[in-house]
């Protein structure tokens, strides 16, 4: 067998001595250098999920709507009428930390191809971003780079960026998080699997030629901590070409109109090695690949480089024997090279040749599922007790209006317009509710229906209490979908954590998965797939545990989706849900105004959650409301301010509250499902009926009107701010 001296030791491949021994055992011989490199990728944390798999098994993955759960390129849910939605979220944290523009851009590119691989047309992107404090110029560089990378790639490729979230906290100063979700739509007949079946069928690599970029991306960059020498890792970051990606999307979708194609797979992390072995493993087959046939950018690339390259904009296409001409011709029309690099075999072995010379010969299952599963030790954090401290000591603010303006202009609560105006969020002409809404809503052309899409994460809550924090994250997504009138259907998740070899990190991971599993089960939103990103840690500084949820909901009639802006003077302002349970503990008010990230995280009351969600959704679909929003970060006053700022007429409101709690708790407290609805007088009865039917409390708290927001508590005016001043404050946070 040929061997290459470039990488000799297991350590350089990112493996442990024990893992090396395991490889020798499975192969019944020592691997050569190329084989070792391939194992290094496939057995990396990033590809093998070796530290997480044991825990992930707890997640509910089945449901009546689920057509395809985890394990494929993307999850797929049935929308009825022969339509299905494919979706997945993925992280590109490490590449973005090293090279923000290309790191983020190729994160977008990679997730688009995952959706394409199941035969769906990508119709929406959402990004969940985390950075350190913006006062740090390095953070500012990362932030603007990531936004510009997403903008460059997403805009060019013609898939709208319709939503997402961004959050700033010192916990992410060294390790920014860039999670990208993509959603696609397809007819159920078009469902394609990343499967190689039918021995003798040709295997194509389509798209960009293979270059030296991204070698070791999955094994050494994504599966290790970042350190001082990471500038040197820059060649492990790939460079994106959205133009070629666009051609790839159109070429593959056209190709799928015929039955010449059997399977599709993205060449993403771990490149050709992963795509070839994963498709063969799913098909229960093997694959024979001649690396001479792989188009490459440089002529002197070694087999090792070809097999490990993570060059972007490439797809593996399993064709049907006899259709070679049709396949090559279709891709040629889209100016894409389709090179036949081998064929499907029935020996369940991935065989890599250079002409006649065999370079690697590995049982497929050994690569894809032979990696050890680790039950890593866990330990609860030592400083847990300190977090139980309450918020009673905090002084009550002298001027609630000032506090509100200060909260609104904080980067974590302010308007995201300066970001999303750089994203084309309208291409595709489906975006009914644009960024800035509780959830994005896209119509499905030719029907009245639509999709509601959202991403949410909350590292602060998960650090305080990983289990409850994760459950609250799922609940928040659920509320956002209900607030636009959607029925929550399913989730994808991206679990961002520090070093799994650290027992406290692993403890948090296990707790997060547990909390998420319970919440997803209770709220009937199964997990159809996702991604785990460990090693978001630099030296001894790790990120807060940050599970990000991407949720998809179904909207029966998109023409009823109201948005959150106040619409008409005289409308009643109603609050629905758990009206009087909000607390200052673990709130953004404590965090922003007092620098305190503490307090017990409330448990999710699933009954209340379901009832309130149903009430909000039905009120919207019965056309009883003029606006709706969920009350979340920053509490009631932030929600009210957003409704005023989103009002086309600049309408304010007057709230009359009767309550004996501290005013800051009343105005800025958080917790529980709470929806703010505005309702015309003649529809109040409808809401009263709905409240009875759903057993969800609803209370009138005020009236829309004027150009100010006024709050009276027990008859006394305690807060007054003009809508333009609220808009101004919201506009200041990210400039």
């Amino acid at each position: 067998m040929g061997s290459e001296p470039r990488m000799a030791s297991w350590e350089e491949a990112g493996l442990t001595a024990k893992e090396y021994d395991e490889i020798c055992e499975q192969l019944r011989r020592p691997p050569n250098a190329l084989e070792l490199g391939m194992y290094g990728l496939m057995w990396s944390e990033h590809c093998s999920y070796k530290s997480s798999l044991l825990h992930l098994e707890q997640l509910p993955t089945e449901g009546e709507r689920v057509l395809q759960g985890p394990g494929e390129n993307a999850g797929i849910i049935d929308l009825g009428d022969g339509l299905a939605a494919a979706f997945r979220i993925e992280s590109h944290n490490h590449p973005s930390a090293v090279e923000p523009v290309q790191g983020a851009a190729t994160g977008v590119g990679g997730i688009l191809r995952d959706i394409l691989a199941v035969g769906a047309r990508p119709i929406a992107l959402l990004d969940s971003l985390r950075f350190g404090n913006l006062h740090d110029s390095r953070v500012e560089h990362l932030f603007s780079g990531v936004v510009s990378g997403i903008s460059q790639y997403g805009n060019s490729v013609g898939v709208p960026t319709v939503g997402g979230e961004v959050y700033f906290d010192d916990a992410y100063a060294d390790n920014p998080l860039v999670n990208v979700m993509c959603v696609g739509i397809m007819s159920t007949e078009q469902l394609t699997r990343g499967t190689a079946v039918g021995p003798g069928n040709p295997v194509y690599i389509v798209g960009a030629p293979t270059g030296r970029d991204g070698i070791h991306g999955a094994s050494l960059l994504a599966s290790r901590q970042l350190g001082d020498g990471d500038g040197d890792m820059r060649p492990a970051v790939q460079v994106g070409d959205p133009f070629r990606e666009k051609l790839l999307i159109e070429g593959c979708l056209e190709m799928l109109q015929s039955d010449a194609v059997i399977g599709l797979n993205d060449l993403g992390a771990a490149g050709l090695t992963s795509a070839a072995s994963e498709t063969a493993a799913r098909g229960g087959t093997g694959m024979d690949i001649d690396i001479r046939a792989v188009p490459r950018r440089e002529s002197d690339m070694t087999p090792y480089e070809i097999m490990l390259s993570e060059s972007q904009e490439r797809m593996l296409v399993i064709g049907r024997r006899g259709c070679e001409e049709e396949i090559e011709e279709t891709f040629r029309r889209w100016e894409l090279d389709a090179a036949c690099i081998g064929k499907v075999t029935n020996d369940e072995v991935l065989s890599i040749r250079d002409g006649e010379r065999i370079l690697a010969h590995i049982p497929v299952q050994s690569l894809t599922s032979g990696a050890p599963r680790y039950d890593r030790p866990t330990r609860p954090p030592s400083d847990c007790a300190a977090r139980e401290a309450g918020a009673e000591e905090i002084p009550i603010p002298h001027d609630a209006g000032d506090a509100l303006l200060q909260m609104l202009s904080h980067p974590n609560l302010c308007s995201r317009r300066s970001i999303y105006r750089q994203y084309d969020h309208m291409v595709g002409i489906d975006t009914v509710l644009t960024p800035g809404a509780d959830a994005a809503v896209l119509r499905i052309k030719g029907t009245e229906r639509g999709l509601a899409l959202v991403t949410d994460g909350n590292g602060m809550l998960c650090r305080l209490d990983p289990e409850r924090g994760a459950a609250q994250t799922v609940a928040e997504s659920y509320r956002n979908i209900c607030a636009v009138g959607g029925e929550p259907l399913a989730v994808t998740n991206c679990l961002n954590f520090a070093d799994p070899e650290h027992p406290e990190v692993m403890h948090a991971f296990q707790q997060v998965v547990q909390g998420m599993a319970r919440a997803c089960r209770e709220l009937n939103t199964p997990v159809t797939g996702g991604n785990v990103s460990f090693y978001n840690q630099t030296l001894d500084r790790g990120i807060a545990p940050t599970p990000v949820i991407g949720m998809v909901g179904s909207v029966d009639d998109v023409s009823r989706c109201p948005g959150r802006g106040f619409q008409r003077p005289g409308d009643a302002v109603l609050m629905a849900g758990q009206i009087n349970t909000a607390k200052l503990a673990a709130s953004q008010y404590l965090n922003i105004m007092h620098g305190l990230q503490e307090g017990p995280v409330p448990e999710v009351d699933y009954d209340a959650e379901r009832r309130a969600g149903e009430l909000c959704r039905r009120a919207i679909m019965e056309d009883a409301v003029h606006s709706a929003t969920d009350i979340s970060d920053g509490g009631l006053m932030i929600a009210v301010s957003e409704c005023g700022a989103a009002s086309d007429e600049g309408l304010g409101c007057r709230l009359d509250l009767t309550d004996s709690r501290r005013p800051d708790e009343l105005l800025f407290g958080e917790g529980g499902p709470r929806y703010l609805l505005t309702v015309p007088e003649d529809q109040i009865d409808t809401l009263v009926c709905l409240a009875r039917e759903t057993q969800c409390p609803v209370e009138r708290i005020g009236t829309v009107g004027g150009s100010e927001v006024q709050v009276h508590v027990n008859g006394e005016l305690i807060l007054r701010a003009s809508v333009p001043s609220l808009c101004r404050a919201r506009g200041e946070g990210l400039t």
């Binding site: 903008s151 805009n155 060019s156 490729v157 013609g158 070409d241 959205p242 133009f243 070629r244 666009k246 051609l247 889209w334 100016e335 999303y420 105006r421 750089q422 994203y423 084309d424 969020h425 309208m426 291409v427 595709g428 002409i429 975006t431 009914v432 119509r443 052309k445 998109v558 023409s559």
Partner: protein, 238 residues
Amino acid sequence: MCGGVIVQFCVVTYPGSNCDRDCYYVIGEVLAEPVRYLRHWAEHVPRGTSCVVLPGGFSYGDYLRPGAIAARMPVTGAIEDFAAGGGLVLGICNGFQILCEAGLLPGSLIVNDHLAFSCLPVHVRVEGDPSPFTHSLKQGEVLRMPIAHRDGNYRPPSDGAQPQVALRYCSPAGELGEDYNPNGSQYSTAAITNERGNVMGMMPHPERCAESILGGEDGMRVLQSAVDWWKEVGSYGI
């Protein structure tokens, strides 16, 4: 009186066009006129075509310069012949850039003065003598349409010739001013036509505001103008 006149549209797909499907949908389903795709290698505009639409997007990735490579494709030559024969040509966003690069419209579009991509609704005011694309609109009328571009800063040709401006960026009430100019275009130019009026380039996207569910229908009025004009005037020869 216009019964029986068919207004056949063609939407051009260059590699990297990404609003071609949107234009096709709006023309076919909302405007309800016959429409077909035309690919970049086509050497002729099909006989019977009334209006060719060059859609937005990133033809050839905007590599080199936006529109520069697309302008050198066979179909662009075909469109030139078609325009010379009096056919209607509408370039939207990247399509406008291609028309300038191809010399079918004067001037050029350079990077926005704030150097970033902007996707947002703007207001534009109908200007100048009626052209086929403003035929059914009133001079001074204000329309609300979205823009989405990084290179929409219009510069007239250096020979001092003044282009025929069809739309200018303005306030909701129709006033001109820097505050309402989203990209630094000279004289707030949002759309221009050739001298004859049958070729128009515009940065705003009419296809993105042709249905009330997407927040407005002003884009329909531009497209409907072209249809009305063709039925009333164009089909009888320019």
